[in-house]
Amino acid sequence: MTGPALRLVAVNLLGLVEHPALDGSPYRVDRDGRSYVPAGDGGIVLGLELGDPVFGLVADHAAPGACLVHPDPAARRALASYACIGNQVRVRTGQAAGARGVVLGKRGEEGRVIVGLAQADLARLRPADEVAVCARGQGLRPEGLRPDVTVMNLDPDLLALLPVAPGGGADAAVTVGVRLTAASRLAGNGIGRPAVSWDLDLQLPAPGEDGAGGPATGDLVLGDLVAVDDIDARYNMGYRRGWVTVGVVVHGASPLPGHGPGITPILTGPASALRPVPDAGGHVGLTAAMVQLQ
């Protein structure tokens, strides 16, 4: 990168707390052909927090907190594209007015921002309540991080708290602690979509399922960092041999084929420049304490 680093700007965005929505039928069809009712897919989910296991819930894409949307489709895409993990949010209306929280992730399709709040505040929240998001982070190029590693979807103040080590020196790889590394063939919904506004679902086997030699995934929790081999997420997410993408686990598992626990990408680069360090037992990713949700 040449010239002085460009300064980031912060923008106040308006999100409305989502109400879950279903089509005419209450049923979806799971990967084994069984019908199910998709509880927990969007809106406000109580009792689910960073650090909770992604498997084991009778739920579909459940996220830890409240999902924000906007009734105008273009404004909704902007909300999902500009909001970054770690951004501060404040409830503006309703019984929880004044409560503060943090962006914990994003979800794709039309766009959703997942915000964490204290459980007592979440319990007072109601669909359609207004939440202001102070969005800052897209365009971040941290000093000391080699330029061939792209950072995205991350509040600048959060990077230093995550297990990311710049490596030191232009030739040293950036190392990042992760729970596990997944092969690109496990990447599902989200492939071919923009990494700034969609998450990438990972078709990880649930505990007890046949993993076909893949990583053991039973210890995976919300907030974990996960690496995916051979995925380039600089723009749209897609296959590129010799690349690595690291993301934060932002929602739980799904019974749908092609879906699973989803990551919001935060780092992507050539494998020679970005080196995930898996620690199945001891990994600590994004935590509630880190973003002062406790």
């Binding site: 599902g188 749908l256 092609g258």
Partner: protein, 301 residues
């Protein structure tokens, strides 16, 4: 021997649609694998000069949809059109200069994709009405209960080589085999709608993007490894999905030539035969296509 089916119990349903215009937005450019901006035609409208057995890639195009791209104006009727129409179904142009022309469905891509003879396609434009005689959903193979059939006209299945082998497996001829790493946009979506984009077929771009799929042709029957499309589109080790390449060249990253789903089940239920002639053109174009003629050339002749 040919696989026994329940084709005699399927119904035909008459559906309507219209040629849908190509769509763009005011920002024009989209972004390629290396961040390169591009503005390329191919999706929507009527794409000329590309038919079954032609290369799928190698065009200055994005999301190339051969022939006519069809939708219905009413959202719910459109979903019925997209879900019920099957590969191989016959389509008749119901108005406009090409009225009466016959084509056939080669796949779905959030549009029903219809291949017409080039002379008929040259007279088609957005808004022209078409009639689809839909048949195929519900098709089942009596002797292969583990295999799900979808989006497949029974007549197409009857014309495809292969069938029930003495060992009980279903023999299917395929022009290419696709590794699980190639599965791109479309993963996690319904397998009766749109198709599965295959990555690794970006002709002319970096070697690190290639999965060796640059030789695919429109209409090729392909086998997707570790793909279970019985109830949607997902990764499942030990499963196999047979599809037909219905769309071509993509510049958008994570996208590419796409198979529409025809058959899916456990790998051991299939017996694959590599066959370069495993292409819709072998069965749905009994006569050679006329030499492509674009309208401007025809007028000057």
């Amino acid at each position: 021997m040919k696989a026994a089916t329940n084709a005699g119990r399927l119904v035909r349903q008459v559906l309507s649609g219209e040629v849908w215009p190509a769509l763009a937005d005011r920002h024009a450019f989209r972004v390629g694998p290396d961040g390169q901006p591009f503005l390329l035609p191919g999706m929507g409208g009527v794409t000329l000069g590309v038919h079954c057995a032609d290369p799928a890639t190698g065009y200055a195009s994005d999301h190339l949809e051969p022939g006519a791209s069809i939708r219905h104006r009413d959202p719910a009727a459109n979903m019925a059109l997209q879900f019920l129409t099957c590969v191989g179904n016959q389509v008749r142009v119901a108005g406009g200069p090409a009225a009466g022309a016959l084509g056939h469905v080669i796949g779905q891509h959030a549009y029903v994709l219809v291949d017409f003879p080039e002379t008929a396609a040259a007279d088609l434009a957005a808004g022209d009405p078409v009639t689809v005689v839909a048949r195929g959903q519900g098709l089942a193979l009596a002797d292969h209960p583990a295999i799900t059939v979808k989006n497949c006209d029974p007549d197409l299945l009857a014309r495809m080589p292969g069938g029930t082998r003495p060992d009980g497996r279903l023999e299917v001829h395929v022009a290419a085999r696709v590794p699980a790493e190639a599965i791109g946009a479309g993963a996690g979506m319904l397998s009766e709608y749109a198709n599965t984009d295959l990555m690794g077929a970006y002709q002319g771009l970096g070697e690190d993007l290639s999965l060796g799929l640059e030789g695919l042709r429109i209409g090729d029957i392909v086998a997707l490894d570790d793909a279970d499309h019985r109830y949607g589109r997902g990764y499942r080790p030990g499963y196999l999905t047979i599809g037909v390449i219905s769309t071509g060249q993509c510049m958008l990253f994570g996208h590419g030539p796409g198979p529409s789903t025809l058959l899916s089940g456990p790998s051991e239920a299939f017996w694959l035969v590599d066959d370069p002639d495993a292409n819709l053109a072998s069965w749905l174009h009994p006569k050679p296509e006329p030499v492509p003629v674009v309208p401007s050339q025809r007028r000057s002749a």
